[in-house]
Symmetry: C2
Subunit: 209 residues, 2 copies
């Protein structure tokens, strides 16, 4: 699980404020996750998520002192953009980024929890589908849902996926899952805090693509 263990999210402070710079530095390792899925089909998704991160960073670097926390960015954009907000700027980018992050979280959690299709124990389609249904499906129109179903066929075998997460090293499955659980602690807390912030600031949208 070196891939994830090397890029752990930090513990949140009591007020759950997320430091923008730390978040951007850690999250920039996440797109590589899609390489672990093994098929070039997923490169497309990697670029979408990379685009989100680039967009947030672009806002941050214009004034790091002003944008110390992610909430600072949302609040500043709300003032700057009027009625266009929240479908604009880093607010929009983070809105989508958090859904991709949630997708990954639920997928990894489902593997850690041992959810599996008893008839096909080496497939991870049930885990991917669970993550998709909870994190993304409602934001996708029926055509993108169909595309998801086609892309699902490119999902790797469970064993290959776990191996890829461990950077190709032969790690015992139990160790790999233990590392996963460890990674998920701060990762999940961070994503939860971002979702909470979107709810509190009334920044969430539910249009479909």
């Amino acid at each position: 699980m070196s891939f994830l263990m090397e890029n752990q999210f930090g513990e949140l402070p009591p007020d759950k404020a997320i430091d923008t710079k730390t978040f951007l530095d850690t999250v920039s390792h996440i797109p590589a996750f899609f390489d672990c899925l093994g098929s070039k089909v997923f490169t497309i998704i990697k670029s979408d998520i990379n685009g989100n991160i680039t967009k947030i960073r672009a806002v941050y670097v214009t004034n790091p002192a002003k944008y110390t926390t992610l909430e600072d960015i949302l609040v500043a954009e709300r003032e700057a953009h009027g009625a266009e907000w929240p479908k604009v700027g880093a607010t929009l980018a983070l809105m989508w980024l958090k859904r991709g992050l949630r997708f990954i979280q639920i997928l990894l959690q489902s593997l850690a929890d041992g959810d599996r299709d008893e008839n096909n124990p080496n497939l991870i389609r049930v885990n991917i589908t669970k993550a998709y249904e909870q994190a993304l499906k409602r934001y996708h129109g029926w055509i993108v849902q169909k595309i998801f179903n086609a892309a699902l066929l490119a999902a790797p075998y469970r064993s290959n996926f776990l191996k890829a997460l461990s950077k190709g090293e032969e790690v015992k499955e139990e160790d790999c899952l233990a590392n996963l659980r460890q990674f998920l602690v701060n990762y999940t807390a961070t994503i939860d805090a971002i979702y909470e912030m979107y709810t509190n600031l009334n920044a969430e949208l539910d249009y479909t693509v």
Copy 2:
């Protein structure tokens, strides 16, 4: 057809050398073509093609005098990259870009030629499928082919597509098709010349994604 007429390709010189700067400036308007398809599903493709153009431009600007023509770039990269070439740099980007351009060319030509599904005269699926089969399908594995089939369902009606190509103006269909034919002359010649160059330099690959 203002969208296309405003961004016509120039006539090729007798030796069919393609001036890099002119090509890049003209082709940079092409990704907007995918907006004419009307669905956000195609944004993804737009970014892929945009990526190709950015990659070629990035090489060009390092030494405009050295890279006056597209062929100059391919030849220089062949020398610079050894066995990695042609699956590298601007050579790879242009290899894929030309396929996207060919896809658009065949689609527009098919519309100009009046190919249609008599049972669904206002659909352009037959035209898109023809373009896909001739330009791209052989470079796509079965999963991407399935994704194409799903994306096809997001294709616009013929009337809306022609209107979008005319920037939303109400242009008579015959005028629109006449403009299309006019646009296709130099556009097709340019793409043919790029394909010829790839054949001559032995730069074409046929791996699938």
